[in-house]
Symmetry: C2
Subunit: 348 residues, 2 copies
């Protein structure tokens, strides 16, 4: 900027005004044009660091997800990035892998980089950050989670209770009578609501509690190996619901190895979409979260907070309905049809 000013014999201030489109009506059009031309020619890009130091705004949002290599979160990241960029914001993100230490470390890094706001999938036991962020008055929004002990934290997530209800209704309507659910051993409120919705609806519609399997994320594969066998051969479940993407991957992989008939012997419904389902022998039913809508809601809420800090916050907790995408894996009635189609196509 100094170079441009010197070259043209004007002040740095003038260059700044022109390049930022300020006071345009008061600036000599020819001077402005000369400045713009030279800036373009010199391939000038403003130093965001300096700009940020002065304006106290980085136009950057921080995003912390559980695991960016999981399609659910990478989709969220994609939509958030898209939406943020429409508002002129960048996104920087990281994965906390449900670790409360890693989360705080990441959070500190993002804060030190002066992000203007934060979108957070907070892991269990990290609720105290909510309080800290509120204290330093840094805008944030929680996604995919909510916390009983922080009811005022703005949160955007699926209506998990309703989602499970949809799934059980569908299973019951398709004649499944001994459903099981497989979830993970974490005290996260949204998982609890998934379970509650599932259990309560089972009681209502099937007069029976579902089989509940909880596994530990650290030895997911190993435990899944046994759980699938136990559920099929001992508990005689006729259907299973996988509560997350990752659980579904491990579970379906075991089911594929055992070559269990789906949906005949076992009906299957998963939470969240995954590209991998396409490779499973039977197309898999899943509960689709409105990821795009939720991501955009999070960004627009956050940017509103950033740009209009004095307005009263509009949301506290907002839950969005999911959509059950029904495929063959949970439709008993379509079974005979599937068989015929496959036999026709088998080549030897």
């Amino acid at each position: 900027m100094k170079d441009i000013a010197n070259e043209l014999g004007v002040s740095v201030a003038l260059v700044s005004y022109v390049l930022n489109g300020k006071k345009t009506n008061k600036i000599n059009a020819r001077t402005a044009a000369r400045i713009k031309a030279l800036a373009a020619k010199m391939n000038y890009t403003p130093n965001q660091i300096a700009k940020s130091l002065k304006t106290n705004r980085t136009n950057t949002l921080g995003l912390i997800v559980a695991d960016i290599s999981n399609l659910f979160y990478s989709s969220i990241a994609k939509y958030i990035e898209e939406e943020a960029s429409a508002y002129g914001y960048q996104v920087i993100y990281g994965s906390a892998h449900e670790s409360h230490d890693r989360f705080e470390q990441l959070l500190n890094v993002l804060l030190a980089r002066q992000v203007d706001g934060l979108i957070l999938a907070i892991p269990e036991n990290a609720e105290k950050s909510i309080h800290e962020l509120t204290c330093i008055n840094k805008p944030f929004v929680v996604i995919d989670r909510k916390f009983k002990n922080a009811p005022k934290a703005p949160s955007i997530l699926l209506d998990n209770y309703d989602a499970s209800q949809q799934i059980v209704k569908h299973m019951a309507a398709n004649g499944y009578k001994r459903p099981g659910l497989i979830t993970i051993n974490r005290k996260l409120c949204h998982l609890k609501e998934r379970k509650d919705g599932f259990t309560t609806t089972c009681k209502e519609l099937l007069k029976k509690l579902p089989f509940v399997y909880e596994l530990h994320e650290e030895k997911l594969e190993e435990e899944m190996h046994h759980i699938i066998r136990r559920s099929l051969y001992e508990d005689k479940v006729d259907s299973l619901c996988f509560f997350t993407n990752k659980i579904a991957m491990a579970g379906l992989s075991e089911i594929a190895a055992l070559d269990v008939e789906v949906p005949g012997t076992l009906g299957v419904v998963c939470f969240d979409e995954a590209e991998a389902y396409k490779l499973f022998k039977t197309p898999v039913s899943y509960l689709k979260q409105p990821i795009e809508t939720m991501s955009k809601a999070a960004v627009s809420y956050l940017i509103n907070r950033i740009e209009h800090p004095k307005e009263k916050p509009s949301i506290t907790i907002k839950e969005f309905k999911g959509t059950l995408v029904v495929k063959e894996s949970s439709s008993k009635r379509s079974l005979s049809l599937v068989k015929r189609k496959n036999q026709h196509l088998v080549r030897s």
Copy 2:
């Protein structure tokens, strides 16, 4: 920092020295202790923006990949993040989706944020950025690509020719005689070398050219639908090699829908690992890239360039050998065994 200085009646400079561990031997231990204590108590975190403006270093690396939701790149990102963080660097990244416009836009954003160095999966037709980065003397390294017209750009990638050679040798050894390859219609040098390695080795070992299918990324699924059928029913291939992760997903999905016998009717080998392969009825052979090694090599090269700008660069192009992970999908000989195992396990 100013608050700390005022509170303790010392100068800002002194606080800075203490907190950065400079001149420790010359500073009164008690004053230092008081400063540290107060900083901790006030939960002081230095403003990285201000620090960067002064030091001209952000301790940030920029990473541009083709698509962060692809396991290959998300693994790269993960390892790069890990390695960088060991050196005290952050990583900010984005996906260019093989678009040359999007790439340049991202690159500019990263440069404006003053990243200290860049790791880039450059899309086709974006080689001119290489020249620009060289001009402004910004350290960078290309990953997963190389460019004929920029032979001096530091590049880290798979030895793609050798990888294809390994695959064809394996196919030939397993009795496959009519192999096909499915790749994508892009003029990227590493894909060309994959193809060349494949073709040349086919000629050598099978005295025959492979069937080559090139598809357009925009209508991948649609074209794949036809290509799989054509290759099986018209060209009568007995084996297929999918040249990327994404192609493999689309191809295997079609194969699953047709219920083609793998490896009996069709042998299958893919480039790159994917979690999804676990859901395919037959475990899938794939060529594994040494992602961790390559990521670390990229980071350590780059940080060396950043921290010792005067040293002569050590690499220009470095190619790493891949490992063929053989599973059932490409092992004709194991076929009878597979069948028996499956029959035993089928339940009705």
